[in-house]
């Protein structure tokens, strides 16, 4: 970690977004993670995405569990709401917050231990309920805080820093998220911000359960030969199916790619993303196809990245529950608790 605070000075030519903020205004405290940690790059990508979308910091709630990854909300969006919850319990805290105030933007930040082990059930249920959130797993395949034991996402056959071979099968969170009905599913790599930043921006704009699995090398315990989550390994085996450009506002789209390779996806809220296909056979609107593609490539040792599935017409938990448009926390007590007469009426209707 670094002992001095990041100097307040910034580049004199720094651009400002629609709100008049520079990307420096979206930073938090200085990171206390190990030097070179992939998580810090994800932090920088979240900062960049929020800056580009001109998000008002006070409109964001960042919620995390326990672990290296779950420390990171301290390092971005220093002026946003935050809740560092119990190990693996980020999804239920986020779900509760979302129910109480549907107007905020929810960023759930978790790790492979937090989401694939202790919080596996929580992860599954928040996804299947379609909570409107951006769920980011900073996936390094090890328990970094306890010095590098394999986590549940470590690939079978990969080697620990000490040379031990992992004999357990890996949980592929992307596959699970697809199976559980997430309406925005992506995988990316902390070492590839040009891919990651637009994915985060698109996920924030997506109304529904967005899930991004970000492979994030652990410099201290999982960046060696034999690891399948090291910088070198991921760079060699990365198979990006597409690239995104998030289109902010309604200005005309300049397409300078070969015809047929760019597909503009308009989401429910009117936001648009330009999807630049790298793999001509890949269709990001085909859930079943995505699952098959993923398994086939995983069997070949390839790491499929990009926007793997998006349902532009997604609905969220509030739509399922038919809640009022006004956030519950903004309703007056009288509306929230209409009294015994109303209760009697409901009871009578059920008799």
């Amino acid at each position: 970690m670094t002992y001095i605070a990041k100097p307040k000075f910034h580049h004199p030519g720094l651009k400002k977004n629609e709100l008049g903020y520079t990307h420096r205004d979206y930073e938090g405290k200085i990171s206390t993670l190990c030097a070179g940690c992939g998580h810090d790059s994800i932090t920088a990508s979240i900062i960049e995405a929020c800056y580009e979308l001109s998000i008002e910091p006070h409109r964001v709630a960042k919620i995390s569990g326990i672990g290296c990854s779950s420390k990171t909300p301290d390092y971005f969006l220093g002026n946003s709401h935050g809740f560092n919850s119990v190990h693996g319990r980020m999804p239920s805290v986020l779900t509760g917050a979302n129910l109480a105030n549907r107007d905020l933007i929810y960023l759930g930040v978790s790790g492979d231990g937090d989401s694939a082990s202790i919080g596996f059930g929580q992860f599954a249920h928040s996804i299947r309920r379609g909570v409107n959130m951006t769920y980011i797993v900073e996936n390094n395949g090890v328990y970094g805080l306890t010095k590098g034991q394999f986590s549940a996402t470590a690939d079978r056959g990969s080697k620990s820093k000490k040379g031990v071979v992992n004999t357990d099968n890996a949980i592929d969170l992307v596959a699970i998220a697809l199976q559980l009905g997430a309406t925005f599913v992506a995988r990316s790599f902390s070492g590839d911000k040009t891919q990651l930043v637009p994915l985060i921006a698109a996920a924030i704009q997506h109304k529904g359960a967005s899930f991004i699995d970000v492979i994030s090398p652990c410099i201290a315990f999982n960046n060696h030969a034999g690891s399948t989550k090291s910088f070198d390994y991921v760079r060699e085996h990365n198979d990006a199916v597409n690239r995104l450009d998030v289109l902010v506002g309604r200005e005309p789209i300049h397409v300078d790619y070969a015809p047929g390779t760019v597909q503009v996806v308009e989401q429910h809220d009117g936001s648009r993303i330009a999807l630049r296909k790298l793999d001509a056979d890949y269709d990001a609107h085909d859930r079943l196809g995505a699952m098959t593609f993923l398994q086939k490539h995983a069997a070949k040792g390839q790491i499929v990245t990009g926007l793997l599935y998006v349902d532009p017409e997604a609905e969220d938990l509030h739509a399922h529950l038919n809640t009022v448009d006004t956030p519950l926390n903004a309703l007056e007590a009288k509306t929230l608790c209409p009294g015994s007469a109303a209760l009697d009426k409901i009871n009578a209707s059920l008799r």
């Binding site: 670094t2 990041k6 030519g13 030097a35 992939g38 790059s41 070198d232 760079r235």
Partner: protein, 599 residues
């Protein structure tokens, strides 16, 4: 772009903007760090070695370093480098024992004409090597224009005495009050070399109607300042006009304020912003209630039977032609006569060499300036060298010092039988400042303090006493605060590509968005694709290749804070903070060293 060759001695030198801008290449951040550590004597000696007159320059330097200072590109104001130099001089201990001693005489005799900064620098560099140096000056004491033209309220005699004595005590033969009227005669005395450091002693005339008739109350600025300095002039009229917009004009008007001038005005031809005077000297004049009127061209001195009553001015305005050149054209307003009792003419200085005979072997150019080699400072007479204002016209003290060092080196080489055109390369040291995992030998925590003001003497008291120094200098607390503002630009960011794993940690942590990993391209293209695009071509891009992904690392040196966070956040040590020190070659430096340890 081609990868940057950081082993070229100039590459990192340019990154230390202040040192690069200083004609004498004083290692500024190095001495500022010493001041912060309370090592004033050490800070003084670093200055003394490179610029010879730290106490004098710390009060009077034209400070080319400050406009160059990186801090000025990061926030509003540069570090007060000049006034920190004064701190080193003010708070040092007795340093006499650290000065060089006169060397055993080598039998070679050098004559130096003029006892100003250029000659004294030559003498200081040569005397310890055993040369017998004889300095001639028309004034009784050494110092030249530093003593005669700079008012005492800016530069007290005690400071000049101290620093000229350090040099004269090296066994130099100083002949005060001995003006050289014939170079031919001097050459006949068979000196092994002659150095001309006689300055630009003649004030330019303003030949307009009334000049002759009203001469009794029209004074040439530098001559008048010199008369004041030596106590020959003690008062001036109540209403004074100073003509001219340079630093001499500023010294004239402030001096006039102290000699009875209650209503002193500076009147300049150009606009206020284009005046030659340094901004801080203009500020000081305005602070002493001296208005500066601009766009007024003097056309006549008005007098009543030889008694000056005023000056008439034509009003002009600035017009710019297609090439952007400025012309002053009449504005059409009626002429204005400003009443006054005395006029000080400070419209420039000229060189004058009436004492150099045509058959001395010294060629002059069409502007009547001697032909002087800008590197060796040799004239067309192989034994005669020039430096300071005498070489290339009026500049300032720090340039005279720089010339002096180079001329001394030439003289030493010539008298050692070497080719004076072969200039040895400076020695460069680059060494890591890493002390621990996140510890550096320098303070890398960036101070956000604004520039500290130097305390001034109360105006009422200052204006009463012409010898009372106006600036009081920083006290130790202010000095420490100001020293902390220095960005340590000499502690360089050094990148070793084979160690880099491209984790982006440096990119993410850099507070100034200086670092970009991207595909290579030509410079213009690359500058546009930086994380923060940089149009400033005068500031280098540090490009390194050899990365696994085939990209390049491009670092824009422009606004780097040298905070070392890139190196702190680098997991593999691909970034390191390394201190760059360059040893300029002076006469008598050990032979050119080939062992240069760049990164």
């Amino acid at each position: 772009m081609k990868p940057t060759d950081i082993s070229a001695p100039d590459y990192f030198h340019k990154v230390v903007d202040c040192q690069w801008a200083c004609p004498a290449h004083t290692p500024v951040p190095e001495y500022i760090r010493l001041i912060a550590e309370g090592r004033y004597s050490d800070a003084y000696m670093i200055n003394w070695k490179s610029n010879v007159f730290p106490g004098i320059l710390g009060r009077t330097c034209d400070r080319p370093c400050e406009p160059a200072c990186r801090r000025g590109r990061v926030e509003e104001n540069p570090v007060a480098i000049c006034r920190l130099k004064r701190v080193a001089a003010d708070f040092k201990d007795d340093i006499k024992h650290r000065l060089p001693r006169p060397g055993p005489k080598n039998g070679k005799r050098i004559a130096l004409i003029g006892g100003g900064p250029a000659s004294l620098t030559v003498a200081r560099d040569l005397a310890p090597l055993g040369y017998h140096c004889t300095v001639f000056d028309q004034d009784p004491k050494a110092g030249g224009m530093m003593r005669s033209q700079i008012p005492k309220f800016r530069l007290p005699d005690s400071v000049i005495d101290e620093e000229t004595d350090y040099i004269l005590n090296l066994g130099i033969d100083f002949k005060g009050g001995q003006r050289i009227d014939s170079l031919k005669q001097l050459l006949a005395e068979n000196y092994d070399a002659v150095f001309v450091g006689s300055g630009a002693p003649r004030g330019r005339e303003l030949d307009i109607p009334g000049r002759k008739e009203a001469a009794a109350n029209i004074h040439i600025g530098i001559e008048w300042l010199s008369s004041v300095s030596f106590g020959h002039v003690e008062k001036i009229g109540r209403r004074v006009i100073v003509l001219g917009g340079g630093n001499t004009a500023m010294d004239c008007c402030r001096t006039a304020r102290r000699l009875g001038g209650a209503d002193v005005k500076v009147i300049v031809r150009s606009g206020f912003d284009e005046m030659k005077a340094s901004p801080w000297e203009k500020e000081d004049a305005l602070h002493e209630d001296i208005p500066i009127l601009n766009y007024m061209v003097p056309v006549a001195f008005i007098h009543d039977n030889g008694k000056l009553t005023g000056v008439t001015f034509q009003k002009v305005k600035a017009e710019y032609d297609a090439k952007g050149r400025r012309n002053l054209v009449p504005s059409g307003e009626p002429d204005e006569t400003v009443v006054c009792d005395d006029v000080l003419v400070a419209v420039g200085q000229e060189n004058a060499f009436p004492w150099i005979e045509a058959d001395c072997g010294i060629e002059f150019d069409k502007w009547h300036m001697p032909k002087v080699d800008p590197t060796t400072f040799a004239s067309s007479n192989p034994k005669v060298f020039f430096g300071g204002d005498a070489a290339f016209g009026p500049k300032n003290i720090i340039w005279a010092v720089a010339h002096g060092h180079d001329a001394a080196l030439s003289i030493h080489k010539m008298l050692s039988g070497e080719d004076i055109n072969e200039r040895p390369l400076p020695e460069v040291h680059v060494s890591s400042q890493k002390m621990g995992i996140h510890e550096w030998s320098y303070d890398n925590d960036i101070s956000t303090d604004k520039r500290f003001k130097v305390p001034h003497r109360d105006k009422v008291i200052a204006l009463k006493d012409i010898r009372a120094e106006v600036e009081l200098g920083y006290d130790l607390k202010l000095a420490l605060g100001e020293a902390e503002r220095c960005l340590n630009c000499d502690v360089q960011t050094v990148f070793t590509a084979p160690l880099c794993i491209e984790c982006d940690a440096c990119v993410d942590i850099c507070p100034m968005d200086c670092i970009t990993f991207t595909q290579n391209g030509d410079e213009d293209d690359l500058r546009q694709r930086l994380k923060a695009p940089s149009p400033h071509h005068d500031q280098a891009l540090y490009v390194a290749d050899g990365l696994k992904t085939g990209r390049v690392m491009a670092k824009d040196e422009d606004v780097c804070l040298h905070c070392g966070l890139c190196a702190e956040r680098c997991p593999t040590g691909a970034w390191d903070m390394q201190k760059y020190l360059i040893d300029m070659v002076h006469a008598g430096s050990t032979c050119q060293s080939k062992a240069r340890s760049a990164a």
